[in-house]
């Protein structure tokens, strides 16, 4: 469970994202059409975009506060991030990718990650030879091995074939329940939000349309 205190405004050219979520959750789904500002919200939490003003806090750690002039550098935020284009380091193999993060402090045991994300046969492979689902699992392991307080994922099922999506969903549930790492993930698939999240935020055109228990706020069709 993580306490999210996310209250900020982000401007990118003509587009403005106004984000306001204050909730305790194990898995938070950001749901909405493309271009609605979901990815920008994730990147603001990770520190890759700087809000115009507002506050970003996770579990009482203030990562950004425009009034107090706090803007914690990305490397000290302890926020794992798996972008939609995954971005495994192409010059490193799977094992080198997974073990890249060397932050001090607690982190999941490598063996636990290999088992949970079914990586045992992949560890010595080159990343160019991996399928979409495999890349996704390796990127999750890489982010988790750095010992994050929260894991952010942008459309984790987007690059995965339909039959293999179940494995990724199971992995997300495993990360949430067995590793107890809270998740924030972006999705445009209602069923993905319903299966994993215990809180859903609907975003449309830079504004929060609804926020609540997934079954209460997700479109029913």
């Amino acid at each position: 469970m993580a306490a999210f205190d996310l209250d900020f405004t982000l401007r990118q050219g003509e587009f403005t994202l106004t984000f306001n979520v204050n909730v305790e959750a194990r898995a938070l789904a950001l749901f909405g059409p493309s271009g609605s500002g979901k990815t920008s919200a994730l990147e603001a939490v990770a520190g890759l975009r700087t809000p115009h003003h507002g506050r970003i806090g996770v579990n009482g750690h203030v990562l950004f506060d425009s009034e107090r002039h706090v803007n914690t550098p990305v490397r000290w935020r302890r926020i794992g991030y798996v972008p939609q284009d995954i971005l495994l380091f192409p010059h490193l193999n799977v094992r080198e990718n997974v073990t890249y993060g060397r932050r001090a402090g607690s982190r999941p045991h490598l063996g636990v990650l290999i088992e949970l994300l079914e990586l045992s046969t992949l560890m010595d492979r080159r990343v160019a030879s991996l399928s979409g689902g495999e890349r996704q699992r390796v990127a999750m392991a890489r982010a988790l091995y750095s010992g994050p307080d929260v894991l952010l994922l942008d459309e984790p099922l987007a690059a995965v074939d339909l039959p293999r999506r179940r494995r990724i969903v199971d992995a997300l549930i495993g990360i949430r329940d067995e590793l107890s790492v809270p998740l924030v993930y972006v999705t445009h698939l209602p069923e993905e939000a319903l299966t994993v999240a215990d809180w859903a935020v609907l975003i449309d055109n830079g504004r929060i349309g609804a926020s609540g228990r997934p079954r209460e706020v997700m479109p029913s069709d």
Partner: protein, 219 residues
């Protein structure tokens, strides 16, 4: 092949290697700065670095001669420590490095620009500091371009003539390089010697440019 020719070929190759080593660290640093950072006077730095590409090499040599002669601003400082650069093998290496640097910087800069910033951002989310991001992500991903640039710089250094003859002269057994040797032999009617040096020059440059192009294409 006469001993003199062999000596010129070996000296030139080592001087060009020395020049490449000398330009590598500052060249890569400048290439990274130009590719990744905005700072006041950036266009001035860029212009100064690229200047030897378009200036007459003899003029660059003259500038180096003025800077490093015993009465010049740098030469007078070095003279206090008993270091004399002008008309020594060190002057050859320096002239080669100055002339090769722009080619290294241009190619390495293109390499850095091709590395998407997002790889670096992901490394930061994993806790990596600026030096670790540079040495484990940016540098390896730009490595082929840097190597291609170093080979181009090396090729340029091998063929350097104008700046070298002004700042280092053509002292047999001391500062005579392939290019300077070709000129000196031709001028004194030793056409056969000049022709041998020409073939050696072409062979080394051919291999270096071929390798550089191949690396840049694969990058």
């Amino acid at each position: 092949m006469s001993a003199e020719i062999r000596e010129i070929a070996i000296f030139t190759t080592f001087a060009a290697l020395g020049a490449t080593a000398l330009m590598l660290v500052p060249g890569v640093a400048v290439a990274w700065l130009l590719a990744r950072r905005q700072f006041p006077g950036k266009s001035v730095v860029e212009t100064i670095v690229y200047l030897p590409l378009v200036m007459p090499p003899v003029a660059t040599g003259l500038l180096l001669l003025w800077l490093f002669s015993r009465r010049g601003p740098i030469g007078s400082l070095l003279a206090r420590f008993g270091i004399d650069i002008v008309f020594t093998p060190a002057a050859v290496v320096m002239a080669m490095a100055v002339m090769g640097l722009p080619l290294l910087v241009r190619t390495a800069r293109a390499g850095f620009e091709q590395v998407t910033r997002r790889y670096e951002q992901i490394a930061e989310t994993l806790g990596a500091g600026p030096w670790r991001v540079f040495s484990t992500v940016t540098l390896p991903l730009a490595a082929r371009n840097i190597l291609a640039g170093a080979m181009l710089g090396f090729s340029r250094a091998l063929g350097e003539f104008g700046a070298t003859i002004v700042v280092a002269g053509s002292i047999p057994g001391r500062t005579r390089t392939l290019a300077v040797g070709i000129y000196s032999f031709t001028e004194t009617g030793q056409d056969q010697q000049a022709a041998v040096l020409l073939v050696i020059s072409i062979s080394i440059a051919f291999v270096a440019v071929l390798g550089s192009n191949r690396l840049a294409r694969e990058a």
